[in-house]
Amino acid sequence: MKKILIVDDEEVIRMLYGEELEEEGYEVATAGSGHGLMEMIEREKPDLVILDIKMAEHDGLDLLQEIRKSFYNIPVILCSAYSSFKGDLKSIAADYYVVKSADLSELKQKIKMALEGQIPSQPALK
């Protein structure tokens, strides 16, 4: 079973997304802020992270950079109520960017794509 970590400072979002994704067959872990996030990723070993951008105590785009430094291969989906952060070049380090909506079909589709994504093992330089 694939494990998804939801990082969002709104409890209702964590609950809504968590329930929906569990119904889809995923195991879900949640975090309400970026405090200790790297340790949590190390401990929980999620297959994918859903990351809010505008959180009370943390900027999701900065957290994304931290995740990329330490856990480069974990897919990250930025999930924000604001589409304007798409214009921030930092957001291209994410696998996908989804604008929050009551309809989670786009998010579910992007989760599927991120988890299915594969690039064959490549030959070493020769």
């Binding site: 950079q65 990329r68 480069y72 897919p75 798409k86 214009g87 070049l89 930092k90 291209i92 380090a93 994410a94 696998d95 794509m113 991120a114 299915e116 994504g117 594969q118 690039i119 064959p120 093992s121 490549q122 030959p123 070493a124 330089l125 020769k126």
Partner: protein
């Protein structure tokens, strides 16, 4: 026969900055100065050299380069008189860099007006860490780089699964190890010897397991932009022909790629990005050239495109400029049909590529109309959406490739 001028007798270097050129006497001094400053400021502890790899320019490029005051030593390399091609310049650079034992090579265009010393740092530094290929990341005007936006970026992303926003940006960094790989490749074509070189280098890096990153330049690329309807010439044929050639060469690799992955990013913290200068595009001319293509290539297009695709395409043809729209999914599937035809119709490759030009004008015209009210950032989102359309169309490619 390679022509070389090496007044300081440089025989070894850790880091090379290469500046390919042809008749750039008016502009080459500026990137040369900036490169020298960057090497001194950020790579002071390394042996560095700046190499102008030229096509035997007749306008005084060599003199302009060699007479530019720099703290760093310079070498002038040239192809023999009459031998042109950016790729040929790069080949000379690969050889020279390997002879010098360079660990890292940075290349920047000779017509760059916006380069800063920081560009050298950001393209070079990752090569001394974990990366073997560094592509630039800069803001370009929404109408600049239309081959990149409508073909090179979506196609490489869809095929090879790596998101490299500027695969033919012209400004790159690569390791000495990768330079040796480039030299060993046996698929050198006339197109690669010219403007096909950039996409060939990027694709080769992607297909040989090279760790790739993109690096923020912090300033927009300002060079000599061209109206895509006014001057396109052989560049289109060389770039797109090389994309299709690489598609054939690396078919086993891309058939195993599913969706795409982001690439590591280097150089955060450069502050606000400057906006690039505007680029004028004449949409009437693009539209007219698109329509004119039917007289020359209509029957060929009908042979190449699937029946349903040609039907949809005929609907697009009937649209007036005021309501013109050439949808991204139609464009993606048409490019796929052309790629398949390029593989199968060995004797018609040249004509196939030529016939793609009016279609590219049509798609560019549609993109310009759609993005006209958009900011540069919104146009970027449109390009990203187009890439997802291409990735979704990959199943169409997989179904048609081996038939």
């Amino acid at each position: 026969m390679l022509i070389e001028e090496n007044p300081d007798g440089i025989h070894a270097a850790d880091l090379v900055v290469g500046i390919p050129s042809y008749n750039e006497a008016d502009l080459i001094s500026y990137p040369t100065q900036q490169a020298s400053e960057g090497l001194v400021r950020y790579f002071g502890g390394k042996n560095s050299v700046i190499i102008n790899c030229d096509n035997h320019s007749t306008d005084g490029t060599r003199e302009a380069f060699m007479n530019t005051p720099t703290e760093v030593s310079k070498i002038y390399l040239s192809t023999p008189p009459g031998v042109r091609g950016k790729g040929n310049n790069f080949k000379n650079l690969f050889k020279k860099s390997c002879d010098l034992g360079a660990q890292a090579i940075v290349v920047v265009d000779a017509d760059l007006k916006s380069i800063t010393p920081r560009w050298i740092k950001n393209l070079g530094e990752p090569l001394f860490e974990d990366f073997g290929f560094v592509a630039p990341l800069y803001v370009r005007h929404k109408y600049d780089g239309t081959i990149t936006n409508n073909i090179a970026y979506p196609m490489t992303r869809c095929l090879y699964g790596r998101r490299v926003r500027q695969p033919i940006g012209g400004d790159f960094g690569f390791s000495g190890e990768l330079a040796e790989v480039y030299l060993r490749q046996t698929d050198w074509t006339e197109a690669i010897a010219e403007f096909g070189i950039d996409i060939w280098m990027t694709t080769t890096a992607m297909c040989y397991g090279t760790p790739i990153c993109q690096s923020y330049m912090g300033r927009p690329k300002v060079h000599k932009p061209k109206d895509p309807g006014e001057s396109l010439g052989p560049m289109f044929l060389q770039v797109v022909g090389t994309i299709f050639d690489m598609m054939i060469k690396h078919a086993n690799f891309w058939q195993g790629v599913r969706w795409s992955k982001p690439t590591a990013i280097f150089g955060f913290g450069l502050g606000e990005m400057e906006m690039p200068p505007p680029v004028d595009v004449n949409i009437q001319r693009l539209y007219d050239k698109f329509q004119a293509g039917f007289a020359d290539y209509g029957s060929l297009w009908k042979e190449i495109l699937s029946t349903s695709l040609f039907k949809k395409f005929s609907e697009v043809r009937a649209l007036p400029l005021s309501g013109f729209e050439f949808p991204a999914n139609l464009w993606a599937e048409m490019l796929i049909d052309f790629g398949v035809a390029y593989k199968n119709r060995v004797n018609q490759k040249g004509k196939l590529l030529e016939s793609l030009i009016p279609l590219y004008f049509g798609r560019t015209c549609s993109f310009v109309i759609e993005s006209e009210p958009m900011t540069i950032q919104q146009a970027e989102e449109l390009i990203e959406e187009q890439c997802e359309v291409f990735e979704t169309a990959k199943s169409y490619l997989l179904n048609n490739w081996s038939e």
